[in-house]
Structures are given as C-alpha cells and as structure tokens.
Symmetry: C2
Subunit: 471 residues, 2 copies
C-alpha cells in the first residue's frame, strides 16, 4: 500500500470545488470577522483543519484543495497525520505543553531523549544541535554562534574576556560589541527580524523602514534553462559569482565571520546553485576563516530528495552550521565542531531554549521520514512529475518558462511573463481545486508534503492543463 | 478552599530534601549524559516533571523543592495544573500541534476564537495583539511595528514607498533602511537576539562578541530603600534620570522612534521606577513623537498584583505597545492605535505568525487568572510575605539589604553584599528545600507562581531563617 493510503485511508481521490469565487462567501465573512482581532489582510481563505486530510486542505466553504503549497512549505506529512496525532496525545507532549521547562537551567528527565531524537535526522556528519523557535530565530542563533566562534578564535578559545571588552560591550561599542559581518546573497530570504532581515534581500516589502546592519551581499547565480543546454554559460556564471564572493571577503570594511546561503533560494525565486558553486563557496570560507552556514529552513527534511538539500553538493569539509525550521515544526541549527559550542556557558542561552513540545513533534516527524524513506519517495514522485511538466512545457512554453528543479525531487518551479500572469495563474488554479504558491515576482513553486505521490502528481498536471488550455 | 488546594489536592505540605549535594548524584549523571546532545553546563539539576505538582518542583534524586523561581519566572499556575492539562488534551490543541497553520495566509476556523481569548487578558485599553514566539521575538516584533509606524507618520500613512526607498532597502541603505533607534536603559534586559540584544545591558555575558546597533541608553533610577524614608532623594533621582532621557532625544544623532522600558527591571536587579518616573517617560515620548513600548515579559500576567505591572503607573495616554511572554507561555505584543497596524499587508508577517498551540494555552492561563482573580491573590500573599521579610530584615540586615517590591505583590527582591554572598545564599536555600533565583550580581528575586499562598510564604520565610541563622 502507498504511504499516503497507509496514513490516510479516507483521503479524497480528487479535489472538490464548491464556490466560484476564492475566498468563498463563508471565508469572506470569517476573514472580515477575524480582522477584528488579527491582521487578516493576507488570508487566502479560512481553513477547516478538522476536515482537512493528507494532501487535501478543506476551507469553510467546503472547497477541498489538493494542496501543493502545504501552508508555507511547512506541513511535512499531510493534514491530520495519525502518527503525529499519536505524538500530540502522548503524556510526554502534554507535560511539555503544560510544564514548559527552561531546559538550560531545569532540563527534565526526558530532555536528553527528546533532543537525541532530532539528532537522528541530522545532516550527515552533524552531531550537535541548538534549539530555537522559528526560521529567523534559527538563523540569528546561528549568527550568534558564528560571532562567538570567530572572536574566540581571535582571542583564544580558553582565554577570558578583557576588562575593556566587558566595559565596552555594555555601551554597545567595540571591542566588546565588535564590527563583524555575515555575508549573504541578493534575492536571499533568511527571515524578518533585524539581523536575519539584514541578510534577506528578496522583496522590499519584507524590510522597508527597518534599520539594517551594513553587511555584504554577493550575487547568487542566475542560470539559463534547461541546464543541460547551457552548460558553458552556467559554468561562467558560477565563476563570476564566486569571484564576487571572494572579492567581498578581501575588500569588505569589517571582517566577515560567516557566509549564509540557501541550497536553493526559495522565496527569492527557486534559484538553484550548482554543486560546483557550493564547493567554491566552501573553499572561500576556508580560505578566509569564516563559517559556512547553510539555511535549510525551506529545503530541509526530504523535499529535495535527500534529507538535507546540501547533501547533493558533496561538500568537504561539511557545512559548519545547518539551520532548520518549517517542515520540521521545530527550529534551530545542527553543527559538529565542538568549538562552535561557546567557550563559556550562558552565551547561547535564553529562557526556554526552544520548545520541547515542538521538539517532540520534530522527533516524531523525523521518525516517520526515516521509517518510510520519504526523501526517496519525493525523488521518485518528483522525477515522475518533472517529466510530465516538461511535456506540458512543450505545449505551453509561455506559461512554463525556466522549468527548474530536475533531480531535486518535488522542489520544482517555473516562471511566467510577469507578476500579473503569475498571480492570475495561481488564482485560476483554485478554480480547479489546487492550492499552489508563488515565489519571487513571476514564479510558481511546488511545495507539496512528503506524502505526495504519483496519483496526486497526475491530478496536479491535469489541473494545470485545465487552466492553461483556456489561456 | 484555597486556590492551590482546589487545583492540587495532593500538593506536598513541605519540601523534602534527599541529598546533601545539589545537583544530587542522579542529577549529576543525567546532566553529564545530557551534555552529549545539549549544552548542559547551565543545568542546576534534572527535574522530574511527572512528579512535580503545584508549587513543588521534584528532581530525579527525589528532592522536592518549594519553587519560588518557577523555571525562569515562567510557570504561571503551578506544575501539572489540571486546567492546563485539560486544555492540552483538547481536540483544538491537538489540531494546533499537528496541523500548525500559517495563520497569516491560512487561518483556521478557530483562529479568531483563539486570539480573542488572549485579548480578554489584555492590558486596559489595549484591544489588538500580534503574536510571536519568545520575549526577544516579541520585543523585536514591537520594534518593527514602531519603525513602520514612525516612517509611516513621516511619509503619510496612506502614501506608497518611493522608488528610491524600494531600491535602497535591497542594499540595506537609507532611505529604505533608515537610521532609526530605540532608546533603552542601562541594566535593562530585553532578550538576546541582535536588535533586542542591543537594548539589553544587564551583563556582558549576554552579548559579548555580538555586533550591535548604535542606539542610546539612558539611566534607570537607583532608589534608596526603604522608599518611605528617602522620598526627597528618590524624587531627585527620578528627575535626574528623566533629564537624561530628554537630552538623549534632543541630541542623539539619529531619530529615536520608540522608548523601551521594563516596569521593574528584572534580570537587571529588580530595579523599580516610580509612578512619577513612568509618567515622565510617557510625557517625553509624546513630546518627541516616539512610541512608548513597555516590556512586560517578566512582569506581566498578575505577579505584581495587577494583570500588567504598568497599570500601577496610571499612564495617560496608555502605553502604545505592551510586550509579553514567559508566564503567558505565548509571546507577542498588545496595542490599540490602528496606525500601529502596518499600512500594507505582508510587512508584519512571517510563516507561522506565532504558535496557535501556545496561544491556546495562553488563553487557558488567562481564563484561570481572571476566574480566580490571581493578581489579587498575589497582592494579598505578597503583602503578607513582605511584612514577614521586613521582620526578618530587622534580625539579619546584612542579608536582606534594600528589600524591595512593597505593594508589588510577590515581585519581591533584596540584595546581599556581593555575588559570592548571594550565590552562597541561593545554594544554601537548596539544602532547606527551596528553589530560588537571583538577579543582577548580588540580588535575590522571588518569582513564585500565581498559586503561591500564605502557607507557602510561611515555609519560605522559615527556610530563609533556617539558612540565615547559621550565618
């Protein structure tokens, strides 16, 4: 029996559309009412999670969407997955919710087991983890670890802080608060707090009016598609972008302690970087003594056909820090070098140090992902789907430009002419019962769950064709 | 029947001490083992949350501590509170855990109800809320709201961004990323991310080696105790500190968009500010067109005898933003001015916009707090306890210096000569079965739960006397 049938014997066999407008009437009323207590201007519709199941998201008007967006790429195993419901009902979970421990000071007797569970799904070679609460938080915690590490190298890992450092840090001045930078890329998305926001450059709306650190931005490759027909140009593009990174390390006015990069820039447009590009980045960070931080908030936990997307790049040495959130439901970073543990306690610290309830759920997710080898399933289904989309591209090239994500499982995207065309396509897909997301200004991104199978892919392709055939 | 007896019919009647060292043998082994997957250097002992109940925290060695620290001031209603267990077992909670919605895009049909529930415990006059995940996150989200508001005032709330802004923000440069500041205070604690960390100035260890924004710090009053014997001096102190704040607004090189302040500086030493001081701050923010952000992460939800500590200050107009976390288990900020809602959607936004599971728990906490009028209970018990501590102070003045928190319910603190004396006192309290916390270098802070009653206060005072009588 297929994985989705095992989990969801009553999953619908096709989407059902009940309304002609989206949001439907009941959703409209509910969104307006929600607006009295919450900023509901961004709501697409109001969901009925009780009725949603597997790959199908139901709204309050009774529309049953095949969901290839999965919230914002963040539902791992389908709606109301029975294995996760079991975890949610466990005594361990109830205690984690009710008696939320400050695990730095007062860990519980199950804290070790809970954390050990999420280490089982760690990227290859990473054997330590630090917990946070969101993707932005995970990245900022990783920046902290990076700056601690960088200054400890300079000062000597075992050496104490100087009196001058202890005094100046209280004024937010150097040397206690040093001028250091994290290098990131144009079109990157790493979160929306102040340091993570500094490293985000996908859209103005994400950060307009917010003060920013003065940190360098390099160019991320822009490839020509299909890749196999533009090998030489794309190789040149890698080289050009790597030279920019190298030059920034040489010339930036403050030291660059870490380089932060997504294996596939997601929010920024599903921009891919080649294995060679990433190997080049690894070399540059080694050359200049900076950490390589890979942001796997969106790419992690199986959707690219490997547990962690950077495993496609065969980096050596491995990335220093890998951040996670979204589909893992918990957030934080994996690492391996013992010197990334700060040289004194209470440096990487806060009241809760993550949320054990969410860590327990992440453990349950990891368990299912490994048990059913869901990255392999994503690879199989993704390859199947990509081939079908290539055929569709032949028929409708204008609406499936730069089809990308071959061999990256279900992590597939394409572009349309502009934002207007893309937004119309996303909206039209609802009329045929598909909830689908965009990225950048003019692209469509597929982010189904890990229990998305060939039968769902068939329905998706049918639905796309139904929409495009009317254009 | 008393509230604690109602919730916890089997709560112990006194602490039990089983070991002579703290951590005990079993805790030591467990801390070492935990160290293989987590930085356990900060662990005091390993707790057994299954056996903990009400005001008593049990460790794996069987020590049963009367807990007047309540994790890090973050357990609201005692361990294994039956009302919260009921909330944790509810279908609504299970769905929130398993089908975690991205509530900005795909709110569920119960999202409005869940959020409305936490508005019932909002500070007086605040009728809107935005959800986050931790105290640091809450404060940074408040900074974002403040900067959006400040620039929207300048630009005109309804006016679009200029092309120059849209271009410069992508480079992290002005005018899109403007130079703006949040004013905070010396000895303040507002979290440990980069912007929140900039506003934190309690101890070097919190932020050494981290880059900082260049934002102004004012002085928070340092009063002489007891307050009623030093009225004139303390009034002068208020005046002096207010003048510093006013001057910073006049002279700081970049505009100050908001003033961030704790009603009682907690981590920084339980430093109190008078009603007049806070009224003065309110006036200054009005004079210079900045928002007043009150950080109630530690003081909120009843422990000072009012639902929210700033309600003691009778501010008019009310604070613009009030942040919360810790005892509320969920995090975020309350506000009232509709123009603090950003002028466009997707400005205050992220994948999850908080965690509905934690918001549901906060709603259940709020429900119990209101139902049993727990701020009034804290006031009654605090007054009772303070009187007993004053008597103890007469007997042991050296160990109960600057006793503070009169009329602020159980939010009580005092100081010892230095860090050595204070740390010895905290450690000695474990030998008589009390888990108690410190603040600043040389102070002791009481942070019991909201179900801490006279009988618990008696036990606490007895335990303190048992320790001090041997000094």
């Amino acid at each position: 029996m297929s994985v989705s049938a095992t989990y969801f014997p009553t999953e619908p066999t096709a989407p059902t559309v009940k309304t002609t407008e989206f949001p439907g009437e009941k959703s409209k009323v509910a969104i307006k009412s929600l607006g009295t207590v919450f900023d509901s201007r961004t709501a697409y519709f109001v969901a009925d999670y009780e009725k949603s199941i597997g790959n199908y998201l139901v709204d309050v008007d009774g529309n049953t969407y095949l969901d290839v967006y999965a919230q914002i790429a963040s539902i791992p195993l389908g709606y109301n997955n029975p294995a996760l419901i079991e975890a949610a009902k466990s005594d361990k979970m109830i205690r984690a919710i009710v008696d939320r421990p400050a695990i730095g000071n007062f860990p519980g007797k199950d804290t070790e087991e809970i954390i050990a569970e999420i280490l089982k799904i760690a990227p290859k070679g990473q054997d330590k983890v630090w917990s946070g609460l969101s993707g932005a938080d995970a990245n900022e915690l990783a920046f902290k670890a990076t700056f601690f590490w960088y200054q400890s190298k300079k000062r000597g890992y075992a050496n104490p802080f100087s009196e001058e450092e202890n005094v100046s840090v209280m004024k937010g001045q150097s040397p206690g608060s040093p001028d250091l930078a994290i290098l990131s890329f144009e079109r990157a998305f790493h979160g929306r707090l102040f340091a993570s926001g500094t490293t985000t450059s996908s859209k103005p709306i994400h950060k307009l009016d917010l003060p920013s650190f003065n940190w360098p931005k390099a160019e991320y490759p822009s490839y020509k598609y299909p890749l196999d027909k533009h090998e030489a140009e794309n190789k040149e593009e890698d080289k050009r972008c790597l030279e920019i990174v190298d030059k920034l390390f040489q010339t930036w006015k403050v030291p660059i302690a870490g380089l932060l990069v997504e294996p596939i820039q997601s929010e920024g447009g599903d921009n891919h970087g080649s294995k060679e590009f990433f190997q080049g980045l690894r070399d540059i960070t080694l050359k200049y003594g900076a950490l390589l931080i890979v942001d796997e908030v969106q790419t992690g936990v199986g959707a690219t056909g490997k547990l962690w997307a950077h495993e496609h790049f065969e980096l050596s040495p491995l990335p220093d820090i890998v951040t996670f959130s979204k589909k893992f439901q918990s957030a934080g970073y994996y690492f391996h070098d013992p010197e990334i543990v700060p040289n004194q306690p209470y440096r990487q610290f806060n009241t809760w140090c993550g949320d054990p309830a969410r860590i327990i759920l992440a453990g349950a997710i990891g368990h299912e992902v490994l048990k059913h080898d869901l990255p392999a399933l994503a690879q199989k289904v993704g390859t199947y789907l990509f081939t079908k989309l290539e055929a569709l591209q032949q028929k409708y090239p204008k609406y499936l430009q730069d089809l990308r994500g071959k061999n990256r499982a279900t992590f597939i995207a394409w572009s349309l002419d502009d934002a207007t065309a893309r937004n119309k396509f996303l909206a039209d897909m609802k009329t045929v019962g598909v909830n689908i997301g965009g990225c950048a200004e003019n692209s469509v991104r597929l982010r189904p769950t890990l229990v998305f199978e060939e039968k769902h892919a068939d329905l998706l392709v049918e639905a796309i064709e139904k929409v495009l055939s009317k254009y």
